[in-house]
């Protein structure tokens, strides 16, 4: 009983918060102005509690397992959700269904927690669906806008299709190995032709969720259509959670098929970076622009997965570290976009011309975030990219690394284009001063501090590596 409480504590705390919100919803309605701070405090408490009582162990007949690394990954996601509740506070305060929004968001987060902890394909599939279906409902949250429901429709259909493909892969894997328990599966895989076919199905479902290139087409539409709080949740939290479980699957479970997935990863990562970069060059809407830039960033994450040192946890450390930094930088960018689009209704890059004149604080946060996404020192994004590419280079596959570096240079162009528009372009009708509320300001300052400090404080990387 005691073991049950400590090993599942992040899930239990989250379930507690979900039930609390349900009771608030059922009871007399509380105004959004007083409910939102309560939710923010609860999420902060959830994040702080995530640092305590982290023990390794297994539960439910080895269907659920947790280690300190997994607890840390869950806590990164907790931090991301807390930051979203801060930086998107303007939109959240206005939405008529605030408790439902957080119910769906935290249910999806609960699904991600179970997904990261799953040691069984059945639990993995169930939690993957729990992490996807609420997000599709969230994407439709602007009920009267056609764009929102169109994005949600694209999301639910493509995710249902991808889970069908995933299930077909799982059924073939079950047929050839006779088990759905992940540790046993790792022992029984032998690389027969049917298993490789099954693995390709399995892999493509992950590629859908991560929006790796041949499967990326839903990403930009869903990002543009949904409300900005949902977009930031999708681009940061879901991507991070799927990247975490993808690492475990590749390095622990499908290790016998290393030769197959290594080549697939190399090809797909190049395709992802190139397509993400080229499409990001021509975007005008800032949400679409950030969507394609997030596709390119996923390509860089895949580079780290190709490295040979996965037995020494270098790859997983680099990816976890990068996701932490990515949460800070992307949420800062989305936060500024959210404030501006909520207060002025502007979402195009041209609307940001001359933005610095009246909004120095927002401009500096946006510039920091974009520098970090582009990987310019001393922001943390540089160190994140450095470790990703260093681990990717452990293959001694230098032509590949040169292609990656060229893609980095291309990505500099479009990030700096936005920075130039904000700081240097003259514009007669520049955006007037946008008021920034206290929670949004706190969130943006936290993101900025994260961008500046995470890279310089080297003990963070050492701490992740030591877990």
């Amino acid at each position: 009983m005691n073991e049950f409480l400590t090993l599942m504590k992040s899930e239990l705390v989250l379930t507690g918060i979900i039930f609390l919100l349900l009771f608030i919803k059922i009871g007399k309605g509380i105004k959004n102005e007083s409910l939102l701070p309560l939710i923010q405090v609860l999420l902060l408490a959830n994040f702080i509690f995530g640092f305590f009582l982290n023990q390794p162990g297994r539960l439910f007949g080895d269907m659920f397992y947790t280690t300190p690394v997994i607890a840390f990954q869950k806590n990164i996601l907790n931090l991301g959700v807390y930051l979203i509740s801060l930086v998107c506070a303007d939109w959240l305060r206005k939405t008529p269904h605030l408790p439902e929004f957080f119910l769906l968001m935290l249910s999806a987060l609960l699904g991600m927690f179970f997904m990261i902890s799953s040691a069984n394909l059945l639990i993995f599939y169930l939690s993957l669906e729990l992490a996807t279906i609420p997000v599709a409902a969230m994407a439709n949250f602007d009920l009267e806008k056609k764009r929102s429901s169109e994005g949600a429709m694209k999301m639910i259909l493509s995710s249902a299709f991808s889970s069908g493909v995933l299930l077909f892969g799982i059924s073939l894997i079950y047929g050839t190995t006779g088990t759905i328990s992940l540790p046993l599966l790792g022992e029984r895989l032998d690389g027969s032709a049917l298993q490789i076919l099954a693995f390709i199905f399995f892999f493509s479902a992950f590629a859908f969720k991560l929006s790796v290139v041949p499967f990326h087409l839903w990403t930009a539409d869903v990002y543009e259509g949904s409300p900005i709080a949902v977009t930031s949740f999708l681009s940061v939290i879901s991507k991070g959670a799927v990247a975490f479980i993808f690492m475990t699957m590749l390095f622990r479970v499908f290790e016998p098929l290393h030769a197959t997935w290594h080549l697939m990863l190399v090809i797909l990562s190049i395709a992802t970076m190139v397509v993400g970069n080229i499409f990001a060059l021509r975007q005008q809407n800032i949400k679409r622009f950030l969507a394609f830039s997030s596709i390119a960033q996923v390509g860089f994450i895949l580079v780290a997965l190709t490295g040979q040192d996965y037995r020494y946890h270098m790859n997983s450390t680099a990816v976890i570290y990068f996701v932490l930094i990515y949460i800070f930088s992307n949420l800062a960018a989305f936060g500024v976009a959210a404030v501006v689009s909520e207060k002025t209704g502007r979402e195009n890059i041209d609307d940001f011309r001359g933005f610095y004149k009246n909004n120095p604080f927002l401009s500096w946060v946006l510039a920091l975030a974009l520098f970090s996404l582009a990987g310019i020192p001393p922001t943390a994004g540089f160190f994140g990219k450095l470790f990703l590419i260093t681990t990717g280079a452990s293959d001694a596959n230098y032509w590949y690394i040169i292609v990656v570096a060229l893609n980095l240079i291309v990505s500099l162009y479009y990030y700096l284009r936005l920075v130039r528009a904000v700081f240097m372009d003259k514009n007669e009708s520049a955006a007037e001063a946008v008021p920034v509320n206290a929670p949004v300001r706190l969130g943006l300052i936290l993101c900025g501090a994260g961008i500046l400090l995470t890279g310089v404080l080297s003990w963070i990387f050492d701490y992740i590596h030591s877990l």
Binding site: L122, Y125, E129, A137, E144, A152, M153, A160, S163, G164
Partner: protein
């Protein structure tokens, strides 16, 4: 003379069903029909699991349980999808995918 279907017959049927579902999903332009194609895909997976459980790994229950959960999840997925489709219909008076084209490129 009676005919006993073997594993290969069932696998042939389920794989055919899977690809019929994929074809329908890609070619149909009506959202409800696309959802039906998705159900075909999921049901082909169910057939696969049952067949593997009966012929290859008798005595285990993993495949059967997986099937039960897939049926439940498919219902949940269809519920959310239909809710979204109804909302799309309210906004644009159409459930044809070709009319849902505000977001492109």
């Amino acid at each position: 003379m009676s005919f006993e279907p073997g594993l290969y017959h069932i696998l042939f049927v389920s794989t055919a069903l899977f690809f019929i579902g994929v074809l329908g999903f890609f070619t149909r332009r009506n959202l409800i029909t696309m959802l039906m194609s998705l159900e075909l895909i999921l049901n082909s997976v169910n057939l696969n699991f049952i067949a593997f459980n009966k012929y290859v790994w008798p005595g285990q229950l993993d495949g059967l349980f997986f099937t039960l959960f897939i049926i439940a999840i498919a219902a949940a997925e269809a519920a959310v999808a239909i809710a979204i489709i109804i909302n799309l219909y309210r906004n644009s008076q159409s459930i044809d995918v070709n009319n849902a084209e505000e977001l492109k490129y």
